[in-house]
């Protein structure tokens, strides 16, 4: 076996983390992006700035604060503890929470752009054709923002795939639970296991490349990264 059992597990955890995070991001990001695209609130830009923070913040900084807040004495960890839940730091759930913050701009921004792009008119037309606001959202806004959803999903997934700093800070590198491929590669390099590192890195490279090839190939009309 070229990839060790632990490496395969790390790859699996990575894919699981990226899938779950993307799903959560779409569920949270869609209404958030919709609100940002329609709201006239004058301090909207503050929310936009907060969402964009992970773009420029060192992942270790984000990871550090998440570690503090997820810990038993932090606001989120404390709340979970109070409600009788298990601690979040060094768990897969904790990783998902971290990834959601970390990849948020990559999902919200393409969606917001897509929702803004088609303007108010199609929704007004739908309203004159008796469609209620929720009906308009699902039958007009979502289908018309399809390229944005594809871009958001791909970017959110791919960005989580490459996550390192945040995971290192709050994940704890527990094989089978929180050890992801990027950290496993780092471990191999640290231990001078270059062969193993090659196989794992190559797998990740190939997978990411194939993912983008499929998306670009099936959505030629859309430009990934610039909805």
């Amino acid at each position: 076996m070229i990839l060790s059992g632990q490496d395969l597990t790390a790859l699996f955890v990575t894919l699981k983390l990226a899938s779950v995070s993307t799903l959560v991001l779409l569920i949270i990001g869609t209404p958030l992006a919709w609100w940002l695209s329609r709201s006239q609130w004058r301090f909207k830009y503050i929310i936009e700035a907060i969402i964009a923070l992970p773009l420029i913040l060192p992942p270790t900084v984000l990871g550090f604060y998440l570690l503090i807040s997820l810990g038993p004495n932090g606001p989120i960890g404390g709340l979970v503890d109070m409600l009788g839940g298990a601690p979040l730091a060094f768990t897969f759930t904790g990783l998902v929470i971290g990834s959601v913050f970390y990849s948020m701009p990559f999902v919200v921004q393409p969606l917001q752009n897509a929702f803004t792009a088609f303007g108010q008119r199609p929704l007004e037309v739908a309203a004159t054709l008796r469609a209620s606001p929720l009906d308009r959202f699902f039958t007009i806004a979502v289908p018309m923002a399809k390229p944005g959803f594809i871009t958001a999903s791909v970017l959110g997934f791919a960005h989580t795939l490459g996550e390192f700093g945040v995971v290192l800070m709050i994940g704890g590198n527990i094989p089978g639970s929180t050890q992801v491929a990027s950290i496993a590669i780092y471990d191999h390099v640290e231990a001078l296991e270059y062969g193993q590192a090659h196989w794992l890195a190559g797998s990740l490279l190939l997978f990411s490349f194939l993912l983008l090839i499929i998306v670009y190939g099936t959505n030629r009309r859309y430009t990934v990264g610039q909805p």
Binding site: R121, P122, E124, V125, A126, A127, T128, L129, R130, A131, S132, P133, D135, R136, T139, I140, P143, M144, K146
Partner: protein
């Protein structure tokens, strides 16, 4: 059923102050220069523009006022925007079905088919919006609005974004829509020609205020209003074809006040037409002329005279219920000693069918 409208909308420097009643039948043109508030008024009626303190009652139903504001999707309207605004992710059929599916019991297969037939889009149903020309897209948009069986049709300059050829293409469809349907139509336009062809009533809007309202033919010919004083002043006469002369290619058309012969392609006897008579093509004589090339000479009474300049004046003539404008020189009026109330004859050099 009438439509009572009262809106006070303030948008920055612009204020719209409307308090009027729109008739329940026929086409009411909302006419005025750009920036006069036509579109804002139409959007407020549709509920797309939220006017505080507005009042809108359609028939017995209060749409807005006394704390009520019916959202757009609960108003039984059809709305056609200036741009076709088809849903780009749906086929033509999908676009039309969108409203039908939501109108539930109010629409029916027959209404849907009538809309498709009236706009002549049967052959386009399977196509996507981007595969259609601008004119075809707008026809689909009109059919989409009609298919949901609205109780009022609102059109915001539906032809303004189209080229002349495509305009000419759609006008006959709109005419047949208006003739076939028995719902009030509000038609926003700044094109005099479209209004002449389509409207029954008019609201003249200027700078957010209604300056006049009434029957279209009256507004066109009233000497108290600006249209009768423009250089292209004209009278629009609703008439019906009483005879068609194949040999000379002439149609005889009858109206309240007389009968004209007009050059026309073959027409079916009984069909409704509109005649356009330019004021400068109407001259006045005291006696009916014999041995003249002019075919159309009718007895009229002088209703009013207004001097336009040192040399020209506009005379409003009445024949039964039909008003006719005449633009003559002041010298002629002086020579003939024309006064209000005089019985004279109008000689119409050209009357054109508006088709």
């Amino acid at each position: 059923m009438t439509i009572a409208v009262r809106f006070n909308i303030q948008r920055g420097e612009f204020a719209l102050n409307i308090d009027t009643v729109i008739p329940e039948t026929g086409v009411t043109a909302i006419f005025g220069p750009s920036g006069s508030g036509k579109t804002t008024l139409l959007r407020a009626i549709a509920g797309l523009e939220h006017a505080d303190n507005g009042y809108l009652k359609v028939g017995d139903t209060l749409w807005q006022g006394n704390g009520v504001f019916l959202p757009t999707h609960q108003r039984k309207i059809g709305y056609v925007f200036q741009e076709p605004s088809l849903f780009s992710h749906l086929t033509v059929q999908g676009n039309i079905n969108y409203g039908v599916a939501r109108a539930k019991d109010e629409s029916s297969a027959a209404v849907l088919q009538q809309a498709i037939d009236l706009l002549g889009i049967e052959h386009l149903l399977k196509r996507m919006p981007w595969q259609l020309s601008g004119g075809e897209q707008q026809r689909v948009a009109i059919a989409r609005a009609l298919a949901a069986n609205p109780s009022m049709l609102l059109l915001d300059e539906p032809l303004a974004a189209l080229g002349d050829d495509q305009k000419a293409d759609i006008l006959p469809y709109l005419e047949s829509v208006y003739q076939q349907l028995d719902i009030p139509v509000l038609y926003v336009s700044h094109s005099r020609n479209e209004v002449a062809r389509l409207a029954d009533h008019m609201l003249l809007l200027d700078n957010g205020e209604i300056t006049a309202s009434g029957k279209m033919s009256e507004i066109f010919t009233s000497l108290d209003l600006p249209m009768a004083h423009q250089s292209r002043a004209e009278s629009i006469i609703k008439a019906s074809v009483s005879h068609y002369d194949e040999e000379f290619g002439l149609a005889s058309v009858a109206f309240l006040g007389g009968q004209f012969s007009v050059v026309a392609e073959p027409l079916i006897v009984g069909s409704k037409v509109r005649l356009q008579v330019l004021a400068r093509d109407v001259s006045i004589t005291l006696e009916p002329q014999q041995n003249t090339s002019i075919l159309n000479i009718i007895p009229v009474t002088i209703d009013a005279i207004v001097k336009e300049s040192k040399s020209q004046m506009t005379v409003r003539l009445i024949a039964d219920e039909t008003a006719l404008l005449s633009r003559i020189t002041c010298k002629s009026a002086y020579n003939l000693n024309l006064k209000e109330g005089d019985k004279v004859y109008a000689q119409v050099k050209t009357a054109a069918l508006l088709t």
